[in-house]
Amino acid sequence: MDLRCLCLLSLLLLSLGFPPISALGSVAGTDEDFTEELLLKPLPDRKVLSHFHFETSAPHTSVYGRHHRIFPKAVYQLVHKFRIREIELSFTQGRWNYERWGGFDSLSSQNAKPPGVELWASFDVPPDEVDLTWRNLTHALSGLFCASINFLESSTAYSAPQLVPRFNLSGIRYGSLPREAVCTENLTPWLKLLPCRDKAGLAAILDRPSIYKGFYHSQRLHLVSSEFGPNEGVGAGIILVQTLTTVIQPDFQSTDEISLQPSWSISSIFGRKIPGQCVLARLSNVFLELEKGLVVELEKLGLEHVNMKGLSKNPIFELSGTPDRLVGEVSQKSSVFYEFNVNKYAVDDPLDLGITWKLPMVWSCLLAPFHATRFLMGSGNERGSIAISLRSLHSDLGLPSSEFESSPLAKHGCTVRVVIFQVVPWYVKVYYHTLKIFIDGKTYVLSDVIEKMHVSPSEDKLSPGMMEIIFRLPCDMRSATIIVDFDKGFLHIDEYPPDANQGFDIPSAIVSFPDFHASAYLTDKSLSNESLLLFRFQEKNHVQSYTEVLLVPLTTPDFSMPYNVITFTCTVLALYFGSLLNVLRRRVGEEERFLKSEAALKPGLLPKLLTKLSAKLRRKSPESPQPPSPSPPSSSSFVSLRLLLKVILVAVLAIVWHYYLNDN
């Protein structure tokens, strides 16, 4: 494929709004391809980030047929059954720390995901079938990945965003499940899509306990297909990108020097070494990234250029193993990547990349232009408000320094676009007219700062509320807060999830900055042949970050309430009914006459017997032959007798009923 064709292709894809995952190198389009790569990166807060990147691609069906040797059958069938154009599915546990792990690099803007499950999908089906396809897809995915993705099936769980910058295709659906617990049962099916699974290659070091005890891990599956739609037959047919990002704290070996970064190696993080590459992989590389902040610090300490020569005898850190190549960024003072080719290693000579620090180092990571947080205000079970607060992280008036010259902003009178996308479940009834914005503590008129807005209010038990707003905020602001009020709704008794008292989660909001692109400008032009991981980093990505998941406590009823209400009401009604009936058939005159002549009265046979019985029961002598006087005690004994009778009657009824039921 020549260069012109490639350009045309990427133009086509870009114009269609695809993230520019395009045809790659010479292999694409003619044969299946599989690459595996791993990026390791020390983080400023003594943790280590490891990012696995597996990419499988299959040529078009029209060219290659429907039988594959590497591409997973399940995914191919999924694409064809649901006519998928693009899906992105992520399983995440833990929260990405934007302030310490970076918020302005490709890695974080692509791979930092909200906790739980998030699913984006776009289909090539007529608009009226999109929802049905989405529902079927959620079921298929939940079967494929052993997760409760099928909860996204209900129309109250997903929405159709329109303004989110990366997904401006029509027919997009988005849903997320913040409370989904992610564990090995989700990782195993994900690994099954790799040709070598975790039996060989880089995935062999995925030791489950060490991954899941980390601070953050996110497994992602991004599927782009050009099998259908207007650009059918162009570029690679289906591209499946699987990434796994983990942040793990290596064990401290030396506790005496606190400021020293921990020394670590692959085996100390994962407990295993890399036993060579997967034989089916075209590329198998491990990269060690030293990010920009660290490079700057290193140069301050005298390491002029962190190049291959200077590496062997530098006084600050030591690498185990010699890198095969150094991939640096174009501009000085940028991050560098040390490349290790795994194909030189084998089972008896595994790769165990590590870094040993000799001097304490402190650096900071690249931060997003604004730090976004979201919190709840108000108290009680009736109403509250959601606040999203943006705090400028760059002291120089919100304008990031040198490498953002691409953004066409001047220092004075300039504005920054911020897109906020938030989906709220229907039982949190947001009043969009109460939307208020405070910039540096002052209220602003909304029309001054909003460029575009797309709001779809929630419908009870039908659809969630969705808010997409493009703000234009002044560059020199320190902070901005967006507040919107809501009422808490009531759910039907069987709509409550188990453990309803825990509260209800509002999924993360997405805050993205379309004016800023996180992309690494690397020297090598031929990266797509040499590293798809770095190739993906070079792509233009909007900087975006996810806010926290909110936990809203709703009024939870006592779940035995319906029965209590039924019994209580029925008893009251029965009482009322009985006394009314008695009053109706009461003969007052006759009673009075009776009362007068009561002395001469003789008790009947049955009451007599009953009194005897009750006397016996009370261990009184039965030989009290006195007929019961009409004094109050006797009347009370009658009452208790009657009660006893009733109880016996009910018991007999119950027994008869029980036998009747048993016979059934």
Binding site: G65, R66, H67, H68, R69, P72, K73, A74, Q77, L78, K81, A140, G143, L144, K192, P195, C196, R197, K199, A200, G276, Q277, V279, L280, A281, N343, K344, A346, V347, Y563, T567, T571, A574, L575, G578, S579, L581, N582, L584, R585, R586, R587, R593, F594, S597, A600, L601, K602, P603, G604, P607, S635, F638, V639, R642, L649, L653, W657, L661, N664
Partner: protein
Amino acid sequence: MADAHQEPPIREEPPPPPYPSRATKPGLKRLLLTLTVLLSFIAGFPFLLKSTEIYRSPLPHRSIESLSGSLKSNRPFLPCRFHAVFFSSGHRLDELAASIAAAMKKRRSAAVETAVCGKCGAEFNVTVTMMAATDDDGEIGFLDGDDEAVDEMLESLLKRRGVEGGGGGRVYTVFVMEREGMRRVVVGKHRHGWIVGRVTESEAVEMIGGIFVEYFINGGKEGGEVIGENGEFMPVGADGRVVLSFSLLNADPSDWVYDWDFQKTGEIMMAPVVEALAPVANITLESQVLYHTPKSSLSYWDEKLRSYVFSIRDLPFFVNSNEWHLDTSIAAAGRTRVLQFVVYVPSAKECPLLLRLPNGEISMTNGYISPTWGGVVVWNPPECLGPTQDPLAGRRNTGTPRKTIPSMDLQKVFQVFVGQLRQLFGLKSSNVQTTGLGISNFVASENGFTEWELDVLFRHHACSNLDSCVTTLGSLSRLVQSLPRMIVMDEIGKQVKLSLEAASLAQHNASQGIYDASAVSSRKARALAEDAFFHPSIMSISYSSFEHYFAIYMPFFAPVSMHVLLAAAKELKRYKQERAKYLASRARTQ
């Protein structure tokens, strides 16, 4: 409540002395009042029941029962007709026909009785004709030469003659040509066979009966063996679809990586099979290549054979379900049956791998089947037959070179798969080994299934589908009847009705002898019955139980009904007493 009741009951028992009689007629007001309340309660009861009723679509329980009864007493069968042709004169045709029928009966009585599915019924319709060896259109010859040519020639002869007579069903023919020379018995790929050579009449009769019963009726299975008794081994999903999932397993890709050209070889070789079986099942194909899939049990080295041997005894441990991610197919959701066909490429340290049969011989196909699961074939790559090389030699380079299974080898593998598919469908993998009747040859069909074998399958499937349809409907009807408060959706009722209609259509077609149509409509009947049984509204049983119902209404109705009943009883009693008093006093005054 208590004080309301306090007074009357005690004092009413004996008529109080101060009022031994009454002069006025006792009033009816209170009595009427209480009785009205009681009656209105009783009258309201049906309304309550009606209002709390659960919707249940009426199911035709009776017709389900009658269908299952009729199927039990009278097995459905597709009629077959048998036709013997003698190329010689001097036979008494009626006697011959009777004796052939008797021979068939004899064989049949030794075999399983008509209670089994897929037979031609209890009666045999045998006709015998004589034909001149010279046809109007040309010489028939001595039926020698190439079996296939003879087969085609006889087929065209039958077509020309138009042997189809009255009555439905398939016609099976055996030609007999008495002449000098070796006796040769051949079963063709259409619906006929022929006997050539020196043969006496009684031998011929015996042999014709044998061919009819053993092959044309039973499909080549000997004696007691019967194709999938009660449909247990029916490899067709409940919705009448089958997915054949072909997987190539590279046990250890670090030794060698083999690929196959499924597109060219597999699809082309399987296509006629798929087409031939279309009335029985809707078949789709899919393929995948998997890596790092060792088998789970070890083989041992056999010095004499210079290879690793895996004995049949260990076969249950061959399939390694932990590592073989064969998976069900997403494309085939629901109740579609997936049959796995696996080509296993052993790793260098267990290559060549052979399977040893229980009798000590080495399996010719190097494969085996597992009923209802699928089949496995071990394919030994050519490298391991050559000089043994250091398995670690090639490890350090950038990956093992990819090789493709040679097309010839792959064709052989797929031939084995077709044989395995035949076995999974209940036929013999190949009829050549049969020795029972001294059959010299079977003409094989291009699509793996001869016409008479397909007939056997159609018969069998039509019958067992009806069986399973009736069983499913019967269970559904029993389930619905046993749960009186279960919701039964209209759709279920509709499906049951359609299923019953399809079943009766299939029965009708079967009695008319329309093979394909009855197989298709019986499949539809079964699919609909299963759909009704597994309808989501049944699966998620959200019916309120009787206890629940009782618990909701009891707190109101128990106390209220007590009041109403007691009040009515008391008033009635009092009224009677008072009336008696009144009557008595009136009598006294008179």
